[in-house]
C-alpha cells in the first residue's frame, strides 16, 4: 500500500514538474485554430522546447470563472478586441510584458497594455453560387427579400457587426455609424427576422453556406477563404467589408506566464504573422509580415480591399457592450 502511495506521489510530482515547460493556448477551433497551431505553436515548440497544448473554443464565461476561482488553466487566449478592452478594465487580464514581446513593428491599432493583436479580419458578404440568382453587391441586398429570397445567416452573439450592417443597409453613411442608433437597427432587422438563420461559430457559418441551408450571409473572410480553398463555389462581396481584430490575452493568474509571453513574441513576429496570414486569409498585425508573404496570398487579405472598408469601433463597443447585449438578446427572443 505504502509503495503504491509513494509511486503515485512520485508520479504526481513528475507530472507537475513536466508542466513547467508546457502551456495552454485557446482559440476558436476549426480552420482558424488549425492555422494558428501550424504557424505559431509548431515552430514555437521546436525553437523553445515548450509544449503548446491546444484547447477551445474560446469561452468568455469560462475565462472569467477561471480567474475568479484562482485556477487558471489557459495561458494564452484568442479573444475579440472589444471583449479584451472590457476584460482588462474588469481586472481579468495580465499586462503584456513588452520587454519580451517586441512592439516596434506591431500595428498600434491592435495592441495595448493587456492585449496584443492576433490577426484582423473582415466581415464580408458571402454566398453559395448555386443557391443565389445573381450577385448580391452589398449589405442592402441582404435585406432585400424580393430580389434575393431565401434564408440569410448572421453572427448570433452580441458583437460588433450585425447592428452596423443593418444601419448601413438602412442608408446610414459609414462615417455616421457611431454612436449606434439601436432603435433604427432593430427596426431594420425586424424586416428580415423570420429569414435569419444564426451561426454561433465559424465552422457553422461555413456549413450553412456550403450546404445552401442559408443562401448567403455575413462571414469572417478567413472562413470564406477556407471554403474557396476547399473548392466550394462561394461568391464574396468586399464592398463595405467590416474590419475588426482578434487579440491574444493572458488571463490573470495564468500558471505559465513566462512561457505565454514568449509565445506571444513568436506569434506576433513577422514570420509567425506571415505564415498565419497565408494559411488563413486573415491580415497580419505585424507591419513587416507582408514582405515575407507570396504576392498571391497578400491579394486574399482584407487590406487588399480598403476601398469601402469600414472599421468597427471597438472602443465604442467595449464601453456599451452590456447595454447593447441586453437589447440584442431581448430582441432575439421576441
Amino acid at each position: 500500500m505504502k509503495l503504491i502511495l509513494t509511486g503515485l506521489l512520485a508520479g504526481l510530482l513528475a507530472a507537475t514538474a513536466a508542466k513547467a515547460d508546457e502551456m495552454a493556448f485557446t482559440s476558436w477551433g476549426g480552420t482558424t485554430q488549425e492555422a494558428q497551431t501550424k504557424s505559431w505553436a509548431a515552430p514555437f515548440e521546436a525553437s523553445s522546447g515548450i509544449k503548446v497544448l491546444q484547447d477551445g473554443p474560446t469561452d468568455y464565461g469560462k475565462l472569467k470563472a477561471m480567474v475568479d476561482a484562482g485556477n487558471v488553466t489557459w495561458d494564452v487566449v484568442d479573444v475579440e478586441m472589444d471583449f479584451a478592452i472590457k476584460a482588462a478594465k474588469d481586472g481579468l487580464l495580465e499586462p503584456i510584458d513588452y520587454a519580451v514581446v517586441p512592439k516596434a513593428d506591431l500595428d498600434p491599432r491592435f495592441s495595448n497594455d493587456h492585449a496584443v493583436g492576433s490577426f484582423y479580419y473582415s466581415f464580408v458578404l458571402a454566398w453559395n453560387k448555386g443557391a443565389v440568382p445573381g450577385e448580391p453587391a452589398g449589405w442592402a441586398d441582404m435585406f432585400d427579400t424580393k430580389k434575393f429570397p431565401g434564408k440569410r445567416t448572421f453572427y448570433k452573439w452580441s458583437a460588433p457587426g450585425v447592428i452596423e450592417i443593418a444601419l448601413l443597409a438602412d442608408g446610414v453613411p459609414a462615417d455616421k455609424l457611431y454612436p449606434l442608433d439601436l432603435d433604427r437597427a432593430f427596426k431594420k432587422l425586424d424586416t428580415i427576422k423570420s429569414d435569419i438563420v444564426w451561426w454561433g461559430g465559424g465552422a457553422e457559418s461555413q456549413q450553412l453556406i456550403a450546404s445552401g441551408e442559408a443562401a448567403f450571409g455575413q462571414l469572417w473572410n478567413g472562413r470564406v477563404f477556407a471554403l474557396q480553398q476547399d473548392g466550394t463555389d462561394v461568391g464574396v462581396a468586399w464592398n463595405q467589408n467590416l474590419t475588426a481584430a482578434d487579440v491574444l490575452v493572458v488571463p490573470r493568474g495564468a500558471k505559465n506566464k513566462g512561457s505565454a509571453m514568449k509565445f506571444l513574441a513568436a506569434a506576433t513576429s513577422p514570420a509567425g504573422q506571415a505564415k498565419f496570414a497565408e494559411a488563413s486569409g486573415y491580415a497580419p498585425i505585424n507591419t513587416k509580415a507582408k514582405a515575407e508573404m507570396p504576392a498571391d496570398a497578400v491579394k486574399a487579405l482584407p487590406d487588399a480591399h480598403v476601398d469601402g472598408q469600414i472599421n468597427l469601433d471597438m472602443n465604442y463597443w467595449a464601453a456599451h457592450r452590456d447595454e447593447i447585449a441586453t437589447r440584442w438578446y431581448a430582441w432575439q427572443t421576441k
Binding site: 468568455y60 472569467k64 441551408e213 427572443t333
Partner: protein
C-alpha cells in the same frame, strides 16, 4: 415513482445504527447542497447584496417571455411524447416477452448514444436542404422545403425523440399490470375498441401517464443542447438564456438567480410528482 421506491428500499436496507448514513449524507451535502447554497448566495450578493437580480429577472420582459416559452415547449414536448409513447408501450406490453425484450433493447440503446451526436443527426435530417425535405420534394409531395428546424417543430421533434424512453418505460410497467381480460370483458359487453380504450385502458394507465409525463416535463424544463441546436432564438429555453447571461453578458448574479428559480420550480414539480404518483399507486391497488 423511481424516487419513492428508491427511498423505501434504501430506508429498509439500512442497518440499525444511523451512523452508516453519514457518508451518503456527506456526498449529498458536498455535491448538491453546497453548490445550491453557493448559487443562491451568488444570486443575492453579485454584484452587490440585495434582491436586485430577482427584480431584474421578473421585471425583464425577456426573462419572463423565456420562462413562459420554456413551460410551453416542455408542455408541447410532454403532450406529443405521451401520444407517441402510448402505442409503442401498448405494443410492448402485449408482445411476446422474447420479442418485447428486443424492441426494449433498441429503445434503451438509443439512450446510450451520445446526446450531441443524436441532435446533430437531427440537424442533418431536418434542415431545408436535409434528407427529409429533399426526399419530399423529390417525390413531388411538396414544392418548397418545410420549416422543420430553428423553430418549435424542430425542438419538439428532437426532444420527443430523446424523451421517448422516459415515457415508454413507466407506461409499459402500468400497461403490463392491466389484466387483458378486462378488455375482453368490455368487448363482450358490446363496447367498441375505442370505447374500451376510453373507459378501461386509459383510466387504468393514468398512473403511468402521470409518472412519465411529469418526468418528461421536469426534464424538459432544464434542457439545453437540443433546443439550442434545433430551436430558433424566438423559442429560446431558459437553460440557453442562462448560458448566454453567464457567457456573453458575464452577469453571473442574474444567471444564478434564473438558475435558482428554475431549480425551485423543478423541485416543486418533482415533489408533486412523488406525491401524486405515490398516492395513486398505493391507492389504485394495481
Amino acid at each position: 415513482m423511481q424516487g419513492s421506491s428508491f427511498r423505501r428500499s434504501s430506508v429498509a436496507g439500512l442497518p440499525a445504527g444511523s451512523g452508516s448514513a453519514l457518508p451518503a449524507l456527506l456526498l449529498v451535502g458536498l455535491f448538491f447542497i453546497v453548490p445550491v447554497v453557493a448559487l443562491l448566495l451568488r444570486s443575492i450578493t453579485d454584484p452587490e447584496p440585495g434582491l436586485q437580480n430577482y427584480a431584474a429577472l421578473f421585471g425583464s420582459g425577456t426573462y419572463v417571455r423565456v420562462f413562459l416559452n420554456t413551460f410551453l415547449v416542455a408542455g408541447v414536448v410532454t403532450a406529443v411524447t405521451i401520444l407517441v409513447a402510448f402505442p409503442v408501450a401498448w405494443m410492448l406490453a402485449i408482445m411476446p416477452p422474447a420479442m418485447g425484450s428486443i424492441v426494449f433493447g433498441i429503445i434503451i440503446l438509443s439512450m446510450w448514444t451520445n446526446l450531441l451526436t443524436r441532435t446533430y443527426a437531427w440537424m442533418v435530417l431536418l434542415q431545408r436542404t436535409g434528407v427529409i425535405n429533399r426526399a419530399l420534394m423529390g417525390l413531388g409531395i411538396i414544392h418548397a422545403p418545410l420549416p422543420l428546424i430553428n423553430n418549435l417543430a424542430g425542438v419538439t421533434i428532437g426532444m420527443v425523440y430523446i424523451m421517448l424512453p422516459f415515457m415508454v418505460l413507466p407506461l409499459v410497467g402500468t400497461l403490463r399490470a392491466i389484466d387483458p381480460m378486462t378488455l375482453r370483458a368490455a368487448a363482450l359487453c358490446g363496447a367498441s375498441p375505442f370505447e374500451a380504450f376510453r373507459r378501461i385502458l386509459l383510466p387504468l394507465s393514468l398512473p403511468g401517464i402521470a409518472a412519465g409525463g411529469l418526468m418528461v416535463f421536469v426534464m424538459s424544463l432544464g434542457y439545453f443542447v437540443t433546443p439550442a441546436l434545433l430551436g430558433g432564438t424566438s423559442n429560446m429555453m431558459l437553460a440557453e438564456m442562462i448560458a448566454q447571461t453567464v457567457q456573453s453578458l458575464l452577469n453571473w448574479g442574474l444567471g444564478s438567480a434564473a438558475a435558482f428559480v428554475l431549480l425551485v420550480v423543478t423541485m416543486a414539480l418533482y415533489a408533486i410528482q412523488l406525491r401524486l404518483v405515490g398516492a395513486r399507486r398505493t391507492g389504485g391497488g394495481i
